[in-house]
């Protein structure tokens, strides 16, 4: 398990996440033809397979001009796809999937930045049960909808009850574009394989108490709750890899939150999008 803060290209970040996951016993390479060697187009990508029977594909979407995400808007970024099978013949995820396109490099026109060289300032945590990635691209003058972004993929074994579904929970955010318009280029804020997916961040995941630091120095928090439905009527698990915090209540970027009674720690990270908006969250920092 590793916590890392780096400035790197998206393809390298994908590679590092993939290799770190494969280094754990539960993950393996899902398609050896999917590599990050070719950084052109959408070719930098990795496919991971979890022993629970879940495929997770990570793609750097860098196609020329970006993908159309809405009328007049195009974007590049990270696409993440979950599926129960894999098309070995075409080396592609199947159409029966759940997918989110994290549109952090956007423009109301053609995207000019090349993700092969665009640097991304980020923090990440990777371990056997998934990863957290939060970051923001460096400013690129040719694009005007550059946002910070967050991706949380967690495998949760401590479900409240046996629901017969996967143990995976996914949470994605972008501080600028989050269009959910076109097939294969939709942003989905919450994915609960294989129950539902939604682009409403308050559906299927709820934060009841933002972490706060008191004047005495202690931090109080409650882990976010994941649900098995978008109406938040079937709580099924609590997040264990991130902690939503209130930046107006004593916590700031860089603060370390130690969980009482355990060795677990979280690091508060805040990233502002080059073109506005910001995201902040406590990222798992030590198990």
């Amino acid at each position: 398990m590793t916590y890392t803060e780096e400035v790197d290209e998206l393809a390298d970040i994908i590679e590092e996440i993939a290799e770190a996951l494969i280094a754990t016993p539960s993950w393996s390479d899902g398609d050896e033809t999917w590599t990050t060697d070719d950084r052109t187009g959408n070719n930098a990508r990795r496919c991971l397979y979890h022993s629970d029977g879940v495929y997770m594909a990570l793609e750097a979407i860098n196609q020329s001009d970006g993908a159309a995400v809405a009328s007049g808007y195009r974007a590049k970024g990270l696409r993440i796809t979950f599926s129960e099978t894999w098309d070995d013949e075409n080396h592609m995820w199947p159409e029966d999937n759940m997918q989110s396109f994290v549109q952090f490099e956007g423009h109301n026109g053609d995207v000019s930045a090349d993700l092969a060289t665009l640097k991304i300032n980020h923090a990440r945590w990777v371990w056997e049960d998934g990863f957290v990635l939060i970051g923001a691209p460096e400013k690129h003058s040719g694009d005007n909808y550059q946002g910070s972004f967050l991706v949380v993929v967690e495998r949760q074994t401590d479900k409240f009850y046996n629901d017969g579904e996967s143990n995976f929970f996914v949470y994605c955010r972008c501080s600028k574009l989050q269009f959910d318009n076109y097939t294969h280029w939709r942003h989905k804020s919450v994915i609960r394989p294989w129950v539902f997916q939604t682009n409403n961040a308050s559906e299927g995941r709820a934060v009841y108490l933002l972490a706060m630091k008191t004047v005495s120095g202690a931090t109080y928090f409650m882990y976010p709750v994941y649900f098995n439905d978008r109406w938040n009527l079937k709580p099924v698990a609590q997040s264990k890899m991130v902690m939503d915090y209130d930046p107006n209540k004593g916590l700031a970027d860089g603060d370390i939150i130690a969980v009482q009674g355990s060795t677990k720690k979280f690091k508060c990270k805040h990233f502002a999008g080059p073109d506005g908006g910001s995201l902040h969250i406590g990222v798992m920092y030590q198990e």
């Binding site: 409240f160 009850y161 629901d163 709820a206 009841y208 108490l209 706060m212 008191t214 004047v215 005495s216 202690a218 109080y220 409650m222 709750v225 098995n228 439905d229 938040n232 009527l233 079937k234 709580p235 099924v236 209540k249 004593g250």
Partner: protein
Amino acid sequence: MTFLVGCDYLDKIVEKIAEQLISTGKWSDADSTWTTENFDSAKRVVKHIEGVYVAIELLNSAQKVADSRYAKGLRITFSQTWDTVNHSCPVDKMQTFVQFCCDDSSGGLPDLRYQRIDYYMWVEENGFVIMGRPASCGDYRGAFIICVERNPNKEYDDHYTNFYCYNRTNRCNYDEYDGKRTKNVIRPFNYQANGRYSGYQKVMSPILSEADGKAYGVFGLIHNAEDNRDPIFQPTFFIEWDEGKGVIPGDILKVEGSTREYLVLELTGSSAGDKLRYAIKIHD
């Protein structure tokens, strides 16, 4: 510890609260001249062994609480001392007036001596919680909740008492005139605040899961500052609940791993106003 449900006059309810507290052995009668024998001046004061006085007064004369607003109700006062000479609360105190009978004219308020109150009440050695509403009483008659709880499980030693008071009506909670102010949250003797969520923070309403039939929820937080920056303990006498999450009035919520139980209540007054939705303790 006792859970009581009834319909009674306010002086009788004040008397019951006081006597039930005294019967636990942790409270004593603090002033034998404070009685409920005379309805219009019905009042009791009890003292907890930790040195906290709680005075409960029935105010049956119209109190001006705001412009064109008059109210009757219950006044709760916390103090560290007691004026045994004048038989009254000391100047240094924290106080809330629960204005559950309210009207835009003083003449519109009925005599409480003829008003029965439907109530649900839990009393134990650590305090009491009551939810009630008058059978009929003025344009702005309201349901109310009053919770006085001693919580020994503080997060840290803050040198204050272990008590808090949370109170609210669904209509009138004015904070304008001394002696007649509503303070929805009192943290003796640290602060008192007017505001539904000032010092008390709702966390997670119980959700009755459609998946496994269990209710999931988290008790609120009581803070040591009205800006909700210093959690000091969680209320255990009540939990606020939301409509539309599977829980309905009459449900009993059982706390897993314990014998504690809560009754889900929804009370409203005669006219418009938020419904008061709380589940209150009925079994320890």
